[in-house]
């Protein structure tokens, strides 16, 4: 089954299931449905497609009627369906480094295998990483399509915000010129309104998640923060967020308050392929990932009267931008807010920007007397995944946390 068929089958399957329970929030099913529909649109030749870096403001592109996505999405989808292996191999056989980030290797392999949807335009962003820039540049060359390069300045200053805001305006003009999809001021206003509305609902979700006991299960908000960015400024995004919030409110009401358990912080991105590591969490140790680093809103509402500066400020607040002190400060804040017992860092293999700071992150948590488990796992490439070994290490870690609790 190719990935296009996968999305079609997924949409059909989830729609059928949702029709059986129309009155339940079903947040995770709705989330999966919207993601699958996005996948369908990416493969629809009638759509105008933009492949982008993670930091690109998708609310702007959504408002322009462009189906846009970060390239790593395809890598994650391939991994989640167990299909990433052949594409990783294709990339490696073509000379791309086998020790580089699996997200990008999978995307490059998919491109060379003619599986990557052909874009109309590409927008690279220098944050969070260099490999993403190189990958998008490669796609631009491969597809011979226009490329816009968005530089995310290192420091969060007014000058840098204004420079970035100017670039965003230029990006919109560039994309409009290439695609014929101009940005209507009414559409922009509506997108900003929805972005801010979604922001409020997501903050509610995170507040609920931070409560003791937390209504969350480990799988509930996997990839949530980063994927919701794709639906920024859309009504679908708002509906998805509301269904999660409603579900968690409902669960919280049903809780007795005695439900204890270990509370975990997961650093950066989840392992995308199917695995059984989390069986240990809830079954044996009553442990829950109550917060993922990427499930965070460090930015203020976008100013309707000055949206480009607002989007620029939002991008600059991404903790992966700038020095590690900013990222660590936020991680420690999250640990406090969510009353964390322990931290798990997958240390995604090949991630220079994220995993490159492994030692610094670990030291910072140790100074706070918070245990950290570094998994050293490739979140996309399961060819060398040793589930047994990792389970043993995880079990020992959870045992440690239990004894400390």
């Amino acid at each position: 089954m190719n990935i296009q068929d996968y999305f079609n089958a997924t949409v059909a399957g989830i729609e059928a299931k949702l029709s059986l329970e129309p009155n339940l929030p079903n947040p995770r099913k709705k989330y999966a449905l919207n993601v699958a529909r996005l996948g369908q649109r990416l493969y629809d030749p009638e759509q105008t497609i933009a492949w982008c870096g993670v930091s690109v403001p998708f609310d702007l592109l959504n408002a322009m009627g462009i189906t846009s996505c970060f390239v790593e999405f395809i890598g994650a989808m391939l991994a989640s369906t167990g299909m990433s292996g052949p594409f990783l191999e294709t990339a490696e056989q073509s000379g791309f480094p086998a020790d580089a980030c699996g997200y990008h290797r999978a995307v490059i392999g998919a491109t060379r295998a003619s599986l990557m949807p052909k874009p109309d335009v590409l927008v690279a962003s220098s944050c969070p990483c260099s490999a993403s820039v190189a990958t998008i540049e490669y796609l631009a060359k491969h597809f011979a399509k226009p490329l816009f390069a968005l530089h995310i300045p290192y420091e969060r200053t007014e000058r840098n915000r204004d420079f970035l805001a100017t670039q965003l305006e230029e990006m919109v003009l560039f994309v409009a010129k290439i695609t014929g999809h101009a940005l209507d001021s009414g559409a922009l206003n509506e997108a900003v309104r929805l972005t801010n509305a979604i922001r409020e609902v997501i903050l509610d979700i995170y507040r609920l998640a931070s409560q003791t006991p937390s209504p969350l299960k480990t799988s509930d908000l996997a990839n949530f923060g980063i994927v919701m960015g794709l639906f920024a400024g859309t009504i679908e995004g708002l509906c998805m967020a509301e269904s999660f919030r409603d579900e968690f409110i409902s669960r919280r009401k049903a809780m007795s308050g005695d439900e204890g358990g270990l509370r975990l912080l997961w650093v950066q991105s989840r392992i995308q392929f199917k695995h059984n590591l989390f069986d240990l969490f809830e079954n044996k140790y009553k442990a829950t990932i109550v917060i993922d680093e990427l499930n965070d809103i460090p930015w203020e509402p976008i100013d309707q009267n000055d949206p480009y500066r607002g989007f620029a400020e939002r991008i600059l607040t991404i903790p992966f931008n700038g020095s590690i002190e900013i990222r660590i400060k936020r991680l420690l804040e999250l640990a406090d807010i969510y009353k964390i017992d322990g931290v798990i860092n997958p240390c995604h293999f090949g991630c220079r920007q994220g995993t490159g700071a492994r030692g610094l992150i670990e030291d910072s948590f140790k100074k706070r007397d918070l245990p950290v488990l570094n998994l050293e796992v490739d979140c996309i490439d399961q060819r060398n995944f040793s589930e047994g070994q990792l389970k043993t290490r995880l079990e020992a870690f959870l045992e440690l946390l239990t004894n400390r609790h």
Partner: protein, 367 residues
């Protein structure tokens, strides 16, 4: 930064009785003339050291080997004392280098120079603005003010040095330089670690000699990033290669030549000329994403090379991701390429001797 008082300074190791202090850096985009204009000596921290490896534990093992060695050198103090370190925001690994240095060397000011991802006019203006900030930081450390006349003299000095090195490189490529490419690498290393005024004068001594030597070996063009070991160049020659030019950060791209050769009267002009010179592979040309492969092929042809050896620091994503399209383009045009990943030690290259020899033999026999 205009209209400032000109601070009269001399040159040399001691000025006004004070020792010249060094400012460390590890990227060719660092504006050397600006640092020099503040009476500092720019000191490139090359990844040549026997320091204990610490970067892996502080940061991560799978990080660019160039950055790890630079970190190890600075943390262990294996270099002249530095007044500050200019960190260029060029890639993930460099950002982590800055993080690690702030933790392990809190006594060493780390001055961040933001490097735009592409070379459009807005990006160049942004780079100019950042250079202005760097100038203010250097001013504070050196307790001096920027003098544009001094900057102009420093620009001229570095431009002249770059021209001299380019002349010597051409001679080395054509067998007119004793010591050949290995000696050239030694000169490159000295150019960025010694006092530029005296070293530039010493280059004249080499320029006065134009001694033909027997041309031996198969002409190859070297590309990649960091290859500062003179022994590595000698290894290539021992394997039968004759380097004829290079596109290396520690070679011909070591000292960027200001495109505006008449100098700069403003920091914007300086930034524009400096940024627009030879591109590092990480810099995108939006209008022509394929520029790199085309540029390398053109240089290979100009230099009469029969093949290309690409040497890249291990775990350097900006370079490793760009190699396959380069290889494909070269192969379409009948040029073979050998890729070597190094950890900035000679040991890692020595293990690849057999591959290098086989490659040289193959391209040497090709018609």
């Amino acid at each position: 930064m205009t209209g400032l008082v000109c601070a009269a300074r001399g040159s040399g190791e001691k000025m006004n009785g004070n020792r010249v202090r060094s400012i460390g850096y590890s990227c060719s985009y660092v504006p050397l003339a600006l640092i020099h204009a503040f009476c500092f000596r720019p000191y490139r921290v090359l990844p040549l050291t026997d320091s204990i490896a610490q970067a892996g534990s502080v940061l991560h093992e799978n990080l660019c080997s160039h950055v790890k060695r630079v970190f190890d050198r600075i943390v262990s103090g294996d270099m002249p004392e530095l007044a500050a370190f200019v960190l260029v925001n060029s890639c993930d690994a460099m950002r982590r280098l800055g993080d690690g240095l702030r933790l392990r060397r809190p006594d060493l000011p780390v001055l961040v120079l933001d490097l735009p991802i592409s070379n459009n006019p807005a990006a160049i203006q942004h780079f100019a603005d950042d250079i202005s900030i760097l100038a203010e930081q250097l001013s504070a450390i050196g307790q001096a003010v920027l003098c544009f006349q001094k900057l102009g003299r420093s620009i001229s000095m570095y431009s002249a040095m770059a021209e001299k090195l380019a002349t010597l490189q051409r001679r080395a490529d054509h067998g007119m330089f004793i010591g050949g490419s290995a000696k050239m690498q030694e000169l490159y290393n000295r150019a960025v670690t010694e006092a530029p005024e005296t070293f530039s004068g010493e280059l004249d001594r080499f320029l006065d000699q134009e001694t033909p030597i027997a041309l031996e070996g198969v002409p190859v063009y070297l590309i990649g990033n960091v290859l500062a070991n003179t022994e590595a160049i000698s290894l290539f020659e021992d394997c039968g290669a004759r380097p004829v030019g290079n596109d290396l950060c520690t070679g011909q791209r070591l000292i960027r030549r200001l495109l505006n050769t008449s100098g700069a009267s403003t920091l914007v002009e300086y930034a524009s000329g400096w940024f627009s010179a030879d591109h590092c592979w990480r810099t995108i040309d939006q209008d022509n994403p394929s520029w790199l492969a085309e540029d390398i092929l053109a240089r290979v042809s100009e230099n009469g090379a029969k093949g290309v050896i690409a040497h890249v620091a291990k775990f350097c994503d900006p370079y490793l991701f760009r190699l396959p399209p380069i290889r494909e383009h070269l192969m379409k045009n009948g040029i073979q390429m050998l890729v070597l990943e190094g950890d900035c030690t000679l040991g890692s290259l020595g293990q690849q001797r057999t591959r290098i020899e086989a490659f040289i033999e193959m391209i040497g026999e090709a018609k």
